[in-house]
């Protein structure tokens, strides 16, 4: 029982950490000398890395907002899990926790999809996707599975 609990919590925390890293580290697009998005664009020059704020287009701001919302909802889901762990009656399901976690995964998915489709508008053809972008795509199924587990799980004493 305790093992199951630890497993579920570590899955949730892993998804949360991936979301954090993906949002905070600005490496959604990379090339030989530059890394860009989500917040700053950095170029490798003779004097080291030179960074400037990312473009302020509508789509980048939408992706920023969706990533931040997914972090907030995942956090709320973790908090609600601990709340419901102690207040839910026996046999009850963690619906609220699961809903928030599934919403978080949907936000990540929308953010990643918007970035994939619209980023051709501001990055060059020679650039490739960076590790933050990949982490966002990995965080999506982890969060989704975690949310589904919460919905299926039943509380036992």
């Amino acid at each position: 029982m305790l093992l199951l609990l630890l497993g579920i919590i570590s899955l949730h925390v892993a998804a949360l950490v991936l979301l954090f890293v993906s949002t905070i580290v600005s490496v959604w697009t990379t090339s030989e000398t530059t890394t860009s998005d989500l917040w700053i664009n950095c170029t490798l020059t003779n004097g080291g890395y030179q960074c400037e704020p990312a473009s302020t287009g509508v789509w980048i701001q939408a992706v920023q907002a969706l990533m931040i919302l997914s972090i907030i909802f995942s956090f709320l889901s973790l908090f609600l899990f601990f709340c419901q762990l102690f207040t839910l009656q026996k046999g009850g399901r963690f619906f609220l926790t699961g809903t928030f976690q599934i919403l978080a995964s949907l936000f990540v998915m929308s953010g990643a999809i918007i970035y994939t489709v619209m980023s051709s508008g501001w990055i060059q053809k020679t650039d490739s996707f960076g590790f933050s972008y990949i982490l966002a795509w990995v965080a999506f199924p982890l969060a989704l599975i975690s949310g589904l587990i919460y919905v299926i799980l039943r509380k036992r004493e």
Binding site: T56, Q61, A62, Q64, A65, I68, L69, I72
Partner: protein, 224 residues
């Protein structure tokens, strides 16, 4: 001798303060944004301890982005404004300032992308001529760019607001239903009350059942 020295130092400091306070201070904007084809008013005013003299002069110079040379585009002296009639702003420059009120603003009409650059205003109010010219940067856009973070904040605010609203409505409904403020009534076949009247969460644990109100066609959730 010591008092003489301190007296000399105090007088020198006073004179220095006087000299400092006689510098002219010029104010323009820091950066101005405008759309292509629009007009913009570049303001320039100064502060001086002296009265505004009749020989007050204003002069504007323009340095395009990426260039090192400045070109003089406007000069006001002897009560007469002289606007640019040969340079990049010929027929587009107008003097809209009031030198009597220490205002040396100019109006640029029909802006274009080539007008991006730095405009420097230099004002002199004889005998107060020591001062630093002040510069304003002009940025011409095709359309007004969205500020960083506006849409981000808006999306986050709307979603969180909806969340708070849904939670508030949920608790409000539970509160009102539990206090019997709402009598859940349903038009139905007389004598037949649907069990669907009992909403989940309302009947569970509270021991409520639907009961027809005599003489009417409606039911009410009553304690079992």
């Amino acid at each position: 001798a010591k008092t003489k020295l301190t007296l000399i130092i105090i007088i020198m400091l006073f004179k220095h303060k006087q000299c400092q306070s006689q510098a002219i201070v010029i104010y323009t904007g820091w950066e101005r944004h405008a759309l292509v084809g629009s007009d913009i008013r570049l303001s320039c005013s100064f502060f001086s301890w002296r009265w505004t003299s009749e020989d007050v002069t204003f002069s504007w110079t323009y340095r395009p982005d990426g260039s090192r040379d400045s070109i003089s585009i406007f000069h006001y002296t002897g009560g007469v404004p002289y606007v640019d009639n040969k340079g990049p702003f010929r027929d587009r420059l107008e003097f809209v300032g009031n030198p009597g009120r220490r205002d040396g603003s100019i109006l640029l009409k029909n802006l274009d992308f080539s007008d991006n650059g730095t405009f420097t205003c230099d004002a002199k109010n004889p005998p107060d001529i020591v001062g630093r010219p002040s510069s304003v940067r002009l940025l011409v856009f095709e359309k007004v760019p969205i500020q960083a973070g506006v849409i981000t904040g808006a999306i986050i605010g709307v979603v969180l607001g909806l969340l708070v609203l849904i939670v508030a409505i949920y608790y409000l409904m539970r509160f009102l239903v539990a206090r019997r403020v709402f009598n859940l009534s349903v038009r139905s076949v007389p004598g037949l009350c649907p069990a669907a009247l009992c909403q989940p969460g309302l009947c569970q644990g509270l021991g409520l059942t639907p009961e027809p109100i005599p003489g009417t066609e409606t039911c009410v959730a009553k304690q079992a």
